[in-house]
Symmetry: C2
Amino acid sequence: MQALPSPLQQLINSLARLPGIGRKTATRLAFHLLNSSDEESKELSEAITRVKHEVRLCNNCFNFSELELCTICNDKNRNAAVICVVEDSQNILMLEKTNEFRGLYHVLGGVISPLDGIGPEELRIKELLGRLENIDEIILALTPSTEGEATSIYLARLLKPQGVKVTRLARGIPLGSSLEFVDEVTLGKALQTRNEI
Amino acid sequence: MQALPSPLQQLINSLARLPGIGRKTATRLAFHLLNSSDEESKELSEAITRVKHEVRLCNNCFNFSELELCTICNDKNRNAAVICVVEDSQNILMLEKTNEFRGLYHVLGGVISPLDGIGPEELRIKELLGRLENIDEIILALTPSTEGEATSIYLARLLKPQGVKVTRLARGIPLGSSLEFVDEVTLGKALQTRNEI
């Protein structure tokens, strides 16, 4: 490994820190970047910088956004009386792909997980409660893990006394899986057959 | 997909252009970078830029290097009378890991492949011929594909008349493998070149 120039070694180290990228893949990617055109590597390098500088959180739903309000919250054609609560922005992407949902979202920022030191205060629950005016329905679309289930129940107990209908995704989702690995059809069906808690 | 801020979409596009990285992985990585610390993403972005600016090719063997000569060519403890010819720099890394070779390398830059428009002129063959002084042995360590074999034979025909010993990596059954997973051609070669225990 001493055969490698130190900038190359550093690039491999940086790449290997990414999730799901092992040392072998990192090495392959680093050599690819070294061999690639100046434009390609420059584009990637700048895209990484730009994403950190130009992407912020939506003031309303906490989705990633370029402006104060994200494109979904800004869309007048969407049904602002229905909010779908998700763990993170990536889940919005998956739900949007189903084309089954025309309401707004709320990014919770995780689920309650005492073992990881994440209590209700660490999540955007207060912000969700602040959005209940003129809301007909809250759909809980959290990961079907133990923590996700517990968080759904916690939220339902908080929200129901406010007179809002609370539903969650139907049990079409395989338990123990992560939302991002569920195919679009299953996810769409689960949205259609959501039921009241 | 319109739900994504354009810098994020661009980062996903850039990442998806890397070899072996599909759209799903690219999306996961982009979200990871967005969620990661400023230092982590800055480090990666800068490492990509640095590798392109600070890494050049060794004047002698065409391995990647920070200086005019790479660390291997600069190493006085190595046997400068033996040159191992490889396709690209990444192969040097693999051979170095074996700790079995203490000579120098020569990076050919590919193999002869008429279908891809790569003839002998596109490779660093002239540069190899220019290094033959005081050389005892040239080891050909090219990929055992049809193109690699053809290139090895081509090089052997060029080099032997110069009075230099030309060898190539042994063909045979990979260690730790089971006979039933070895293809017939390899097995046939292994039989032909069997050696006494």
